[in-house]
Subunit: 409 residues, 2 copies
């Protein structure tokens, strides 16, 4: 029997999804499982999405243009224009989710062996796409005790080698929830210009900012015309994860031309998803306001409840719908497995994403989990109560006084 490839062996299982079989088993045993592991919102997908698909009346469900339907690309460009960011239709290429956008960008901007600097913890699949593209992720560590803020310029510069080709950020951040300040972004701008790098920004959570904070796109920074590449998606914004519609946006025509060749190879993004997406990009500001208010309420509630649990550390973050949470346990992955395999409270348990999978350095994030506040407040309340009880019962719990001392070091 022939072997599988070394890279396939090295490919990590998704920290977000690898415990799914345990959750399925827990459900089979009759437990309710609160899924806090995955950024799958419970917000209804807008009826406009479904209406557009129902009305589409296509005779043949054909391939679209490889760059996506021009009508959708125009809508996306208009959406950016409304945000005050100048984007033309030709500067948008529709992808099969932000996942594909990232892979195309990695393939186009970096050669095998090239390096990309990414603040860690980072969205675990960045690593998977980097492995697929043969690109080396060079992590720059941010700390939960420091609310995951960006390190100083010097720390970035210490990591730059002749092989460094890009910096990748997620803003607002998955898994951290961090929202980068304009000053932080300007810091990155200066680095990429000085060292001739691309600045790739995953901005799929753009609208998800709270407490009066404002999101700054890399497109709002001057001097980055040929360097800034934005990854976007309808998944979170319009609660349409299953549509698999994302996009790449860049003013750099050479990059866009090369990405189109990758796009042509896979023929086209899903046709129906594009039709639905076109409809939701027309939604008024009130649509966003309502969703943000909902997430804002959940966030305040969840952070408040988590802080009540002894030994739990939860940073103050202002974006996306995730929080990295430090738990008083020996090993968060063991704890997450134990919650699914051996624990239930009021007939339910909680699934979380062990955070070590979000760090490139395997020694980090051992006692952290990522929690997505994608459930309704009542479900969140029950989930956090269940987590709190689980922490009391877990055999590998840490003495919280020791834990808090460690944190304050």
């Amino acid at each position: 029997m022939p072997k599988i490839s070394t890279r396939a062996e090295e490919m990590p299982a998704s920290p977000i999804r690898k415990l799914v079989p345990l959750a399925e088993d827990a459900q089979k045993r009759g437990n309710k499982v609160y899924f806090l592991n995955i950024g799958q919102p419970d917000i209804p997908t807008p009826s406009e999405y479904y209406d557009a698909i129902r009305k589409a009346n296509l005779e043949v469900l054909a391939y679209s243009h490889s760059a996506g339907n021009e009508s959708l690309r125009k809508k996306i460009a208009e959406y950016y224009t409304r945000l005050g960011l100048s984007v033309n239709t030709d500067e948008v290429l529709v992808t099969t989710g932000a996942s594909e956008a990232l892979l195309f960008i990695f393939m186009t901007c970096l050669n095998p062996g090239d390096e990309i600097i990414v603040p860690q913890p980072f969205y675990a699949n960045y690593n998977s796409f980097a492995l697929t593209a043969g690109v080396k992720v060079v992590p720059i560590t941010t700390h939960i005790e420091n609310d995951f803020d960006l390190p100083e310029i010097e720390s970035f510069e210490a990591l730059i080698t002749p092989n460094t080709k890009a910096i990748l950020i997620c803003n607002p951040g998955n898994p951290t929830g961090i929202l980068y300040s304009r000053k932080s972004l300007e810091k990155l701008r200066d680095i990429v210009i000085k060292h001739d790098l691309y600045l790739i920004a995953d901005e799929v959570y753009r609208e998800f900012v709270y407490d009066g904070h404002k999101h700054h796109s890399v497109f709002s920074l001057s001097g980055l015309e040929d360097r800034a590449i934005v990854v976007d998606s309808i998944s979170k914004r319009f609660s349409a994860c299953g549509a698999r519609i994302g996009c790449v946006i860049t003013h750099n025509k050479t990059v866009m031309g090369a990405i189109l060749k990758y796009a042509q190879a896979r023929l086209s993004p899903p046709t129906m998803g594009q039709i639905g997406a076109e409809a939701v990009y027309d939604l008024p500001q009130t649509f966003y306001d309502k969703i943000i208010a909902e997430y804002s309420e959940r966030r305040i509630f969840m952070l408040g409840e988590l802080k009540k649990i002894e030994g739990v550390l939860c940073p103050e973050v202002n974006g996306a719908f995730y929080a990295m949470v430090k738990l008083p346990v020996d090993d968060a992955e063991k704890f997450c497995r134990w919650m699914l395999e051996s624990f239930s409270y009021k007939g339910a348990t909680v699934m979380m994403a062990p955070a070590n999978g979000f760090y490139a350095d395997p020694s980090l994030g051992i006692d952290e989990v990522r929690i997505a506040y994608v459930l309704k407040k009542e479900a969140l309340a029950a989930a956090i109560e269940c987590l709190s009880e689980g922490l009391k019962a877990y055999p590998g719990k840490k003495d919280t006084h020791t834990q808090q001392k460690a944190v304050s070091l």
Copy 2:
């Protein structure tokens, strides 16, 4: 400005799609364009597909399981069982089109630098996926004069090196239309067992066989349990190219487990497409019979008409809906461009795919095109008439007597 990657520069533009801008210009000048360049059938997508989507009534358009909905995987397994091929639900993983299936297989089965033997001409995007995966395509040439039949075992063995990991076939063949005999497949079976290789079979055109011929899947061969990997798709079978629903099928659990990690990284295939696909896999045999009768009629008509044109060579092939056609021209790509840029007949012109893009060796296929008979008979008649007139008017036409001599060599 940072450079793009060398691999992106080397990535070829799709021979099927690279002339699209010229076709768009021809349309803007008021010409009708007959698209024979792309395997986009004009057969209506079954109403069952659209009905299932309309009735889906989802509140949240969520991610599916990364391997695809279990209910769809079960339907696909049942479809294989009806074909007499034993496939379990767990042996099917749903992908975003056959394109993604191929990329996952390349990533999983081959390391960068490994070699895969592919009979040429081959579906051009195999090369794109190989470039993405850093895999080296080693072509084994088949000849239009020999109806693109497989070479002898010795020719394969001469190409096998310690880096060879797999043989990839498309059966029925795109772009050649060849249908491999059981004997040819057994030949391949013997080679892959002897040399410990994978046998990857793209069988998306499985049902498209004519003149009473029968398709043999690699799954029907004994001894290949851990070596055979099948790529499949609903695109052609159900005329649903825009759904972007394909799949990988293998009995090899290690390969399937590794592919699942790649699948998890991109989260899930399109949810609505899966719902539609589930409905069409239930269609009765009469659905297939009707479509095959339609293509069969087109094929007989098209081959007949092409053979009437002096200097045109069109092999006898029995599968898919493509034909590679040798034209009496200096350079088929120049001719295809000229047809779009400078020629029209009765207000129309024809778009074809220059065949050199389907060969790894750039000196081959220079005077060949791939024609897809995906249009209704009347449109095909008009297209071939237009092609015939174009050949008469083309400045780079060859003396057909010289041409025919060359062919008979």
